[in-house]
Symmetry: C3
Subunit: 408 residues, 3 copies
């Protein structure tokens, strides 16, 4: 995260390529390049944006606004400019956050060609009347949209999709937290036996997910579960946003995992604004893809400002987020449907050494035997019995070993 | 309402004809006459009842009870009588309301031939021992049952049924309020473009609706939504009574309209007593017909008494009731199902000039685009999004104009 | 109950036979004998256990523990033993209840061959160091498992199953209460016209119901409703435990009957531990069989101790339990589906003498007429209308007599 923080990312350009290069050191990542002008459903891949430098200064004076100090200072996707303007004209291109006078806002103008600078309100107040030299050394020209894809095949062609956006520049929680957590998850899953195949997408927001969808329409139906990861580095409680369908396995499983932690969390119904779950859940796809964040986007003051920096996220918080996401995947992997091989009455546990009176393991075994009729998943059994998923999973494993249960 | 108040209505007779005549000045109304003796399902059209005069007096004295003062004084459907009786015998034919000593009750005896008078308890107390001349100049003989029907064809043969009872004499809320509101609605709808066809029935209670049903069995299936209007002139909160099915479009739509007004209201489950929704919802028809009232029948003390007079209803209350009913019809008209023409990912609103950041119009557009999968109605979208129906409807209209949406 | 209390029952043996002999005096009961070694699904019928005598004493001294005083003193299914042991060794075979120092626990060891004695904690404390003569004059050898079955044919081959366990020795609530109540019910039902056939099973717990199921696999599908009766003699509120399906007719009917009594009661979801409903509800059978108790098993301190004696149950409590169970059966018998023969509008009740204004009988008739569409049962109508089942049942009977209703 520290190495990725200074990179000036956008929805296109070398910042994304640099970011994917860093990730490639950790996981097997394929980089896709889609040319400017490519039609992707209702959208068109835009011109590629790159920037080398930018500043504002009094003629010949020192830089008053300096891209080198923070890439947030430039309105993302600013067209090139090299002019001398009055303070009045300059102000039409300046963005500040009056309610947080020391913070710099993060602003973009992807689909309307203009230029601008983002600065703190206190910097703005120090500007005096007079002329200002304005320079943005950017290019906006035909090129490509870049995204990364990491596919980990599993026993089954059924896929779990993990998608995270890579278009934001120096913002730590939104979304280096998602990028880094997803990368760590991919690295760990790559080392394990996997029931599901896993597909990790590192895409620019909106245009990136729509582009991926448009190129993969033939196989999206393999996606059985999915999550958009973003904003998982702040200290707030976890927030799961349900898929548009609202009742899919992931929609029941993630709240169950969150509830089992005995910490505050919240579950929200789907809404068509937020991150890229909007695209995966659009009615033409309607995929079982939810969203996992801590404090939801736009609900913390640091959101889309310079205060969302490396100090805003902590190792503990990221580790906790990783552990929750990993537990979600483990639970997905384990959430099978079994068939009781001795469904007529209870089997005689005692003669198999499985009888321990009314201990908790016993109860879990009885629940599993009672409900494994070929329809209920272990999660269903956990919900109905009120027993923790791990107890149910472990009881099922014992019963499988005893020859009393088999995958359905 | 003022001109209709003095008319002595009943389930048959000239009072109903006079009433329909008054309504005919405002709306296109067909009058139906069904002969006495006609079998209508389990019922038979009764003899027609008419009355010219009625009174009780001491022999040769002034009238102590006078039909000319109020038609409520005569037990509705009283057979003719001309006798001199003792006070004791007279009392067997007198009805009062001891708990409201100055009010006259409204009573009927449609299907059991007898006679009687309704008076105030205080009048009764003034009666002394002695003989009384009793005269009821009524006729009960073969004739017709009369009802009115106003049909407004729409783009579709699918019908909205509005039914209201016309059998009550001088009672303002029950049911001149329903008659007048329905008439105003018919007049206003007649001037508009209509998606649905509208059928207004002005029928005597029970026997009237059953008669109409028996003559229209071939076309009742066109009724897609319906409401029985009655008791909409008092100042109480609105009460919607659901249809027997309980989950039809009108059953979800009316509560939604009522809720959007931010005033107290109540929704009740169907029950097989009340007004003519009982007949429309009988199991052989099971039509999607609910009932709209303000204070439910029999739950206000003035119900079926002389206190339900022109002073009991106000112009403001009637105007409010009309406006709610009109809004219900407008919502029904607008509650279509659409199909998102660009369902793969979100469409690019910006290049159509439809992007306004996160303004409320934007949110409504995103919700509409997200849920218009050919199944959800605009009401469904309004309920799921929590957005007011008009916002959703307006967003849909904008998207239709932009070519992004089409009726399903 | 008094005559059955002293009998030393177990899952096999003469105690069960003696018990069935007593019941045979009251109801037609077939006794089944299933040989040791018979495979019944995952189980095997065990050796038959019988006991004549047992005691512990100081060499040559008086009996300190005496089977003749209470059959609870012997660990049920103890193998024969005749030895002199030290106090230390003896203690390894003694069971007490330290938290109730004057009570004797009830313990079993059906499937693990050992011996033991159950005594009060205060008795144990009086034992001094030294030798003890231990004698258990029991046999554990090839024989039979015995159970009783009482079948009462009805108009329909559809069956109501009442099952109760007969394997517990001198315990009054668990389960002489179930045995006696079921016997009384069978006797009373035998004298009545029955719509359903009734099958009463008096079986040893677990192995008995599994044995019955294994021999009746071809006909268990006739069981349309069922209940396991146990622990219905204590003074606690009734507890109904739902079947595994949870939404069967008996699962809705029993709570309705309990609610109508205006006394505290509770309804619990199915769980795979408890009495023999576990077996009837195992996934291979999944029968609509719930369980009726008063205080649930193991939730009262007297459970499985000498304190569950004849003083723990009262005549009043047993009579109340019987009356509730009988009402459940009456409600099952009456809970038919009817068809309104005049479904188009309401029938004219008045001309049939059935109109009584808005009396409660009238309302019940209107509800029945409104909902008898060939799908709703009388229980459904009772639930939806909020009217007591007997009112609905009586209204239906009146309407059947009037020719307005017929069984669907």
């Amino acid at each position: 995260m520290r190495s990725l923080f200074p990179v000036c990312r956008s929805i296109t350009g070398n910042g994304v390529r640099q970011t994917l290069d860093v990730l490639s050191a950790h996981i097997p990542l394929e980089r896709r390049e889609v040319p400017t002008g490519t039609r992707v459903y209702d959208w068109t891949v835009p011109k590629e944006w790159n920037i080398r430098d930018a500043y504002v200064r009094r003629p010949g004076g020192p830089r008053l606004i300096d891209f080198r100090a923070s890439n947030l200072h430039v309105l993302n996707y600013s067209v090139p400019v090299e002019r001398t303007v009055s303070l009045a004209e300059l102000k039409e291109h300046l963005f500040t956050l009056p309610e947080h006078p020391d913070w710099v806002p993060y602003k973009t103008s992807y689909y309307s060609e203009t230029w601008g600078f983002c600065i703190s309100e206190s910097t703005l107040r120090s500007f005096e009347e007079g002329d200002y030299e304005v320079r943005i050394d950017s290019t906006l020209s035909n090129g490509h949209l870049t995204y990364g894809e990491c596919f980990l095949p599993g026993e089954s062609a059924d896929e779990v999709l993990i998608s995270t956006h890579v278009c934001h520049p120096s913002l730590a929680n939104d979304n280096l937290s998602g990028i880094c957590t997803a990368t760590l998850l991919a690295r760990q899953l790559a080392r394990k036996k996997r029931r599901y195949s896993y597909r990790f997408l590192f895409v620019p927001g909106i245009i990136g997910s729509i582009t991926w969808l448009s190129f993969n329409i033939g196989t999206v139906s393999r996606i059985r579960h999915g999550m958009v990861l973003a904003g998982v580095g702040d200290g707030g409680p976890f927030t799961y946003k349900k898929s548009r369908r609202g009742d899919t396995e992931i929609d029941r499983l993630v709240p169950h995992v969150l509830a089992s932690r005995n910490r505050p969390y919240s579950v929200r119904d789907f809404s068509p604004y937020g991150y890229d779950e909007r695209q995966y859940c659009s009615p033409g796809f309607d995929l079982p893809v939810g969203g996992l964040s801590r404090t939801p986007y736009a609900e913390y003051p640091q959101y889309h400002t310079s205060a969302d920096n490396l100090g805003f996220v902590t190792e503990e918080t990221l580790a906790e987020s990783y552990s929750v996401i990993a537990e979600i995947c483990e639970t997905l992997e384990a959430n099978r449907t079994y068939r009781n091989l001795n469904p007529m009455g209870e089997p005689q546990l005692g003669r198999r050494g499985l009888y321990d009176g009314f201990g908790p393991g016993q109860l879990a075994m009885l629940w599993v035997l009672s409900l494994t009729d070929g329809h209920a998943t272990l999660l269903d059994i956990s919900v109905r019995s009120g027993l923790a998923f791990p107890s149910v999973r472990d009881a099922a494993a014992v019963l499988v070993r005893a020859g009393l249960l088999a995958p359905a």
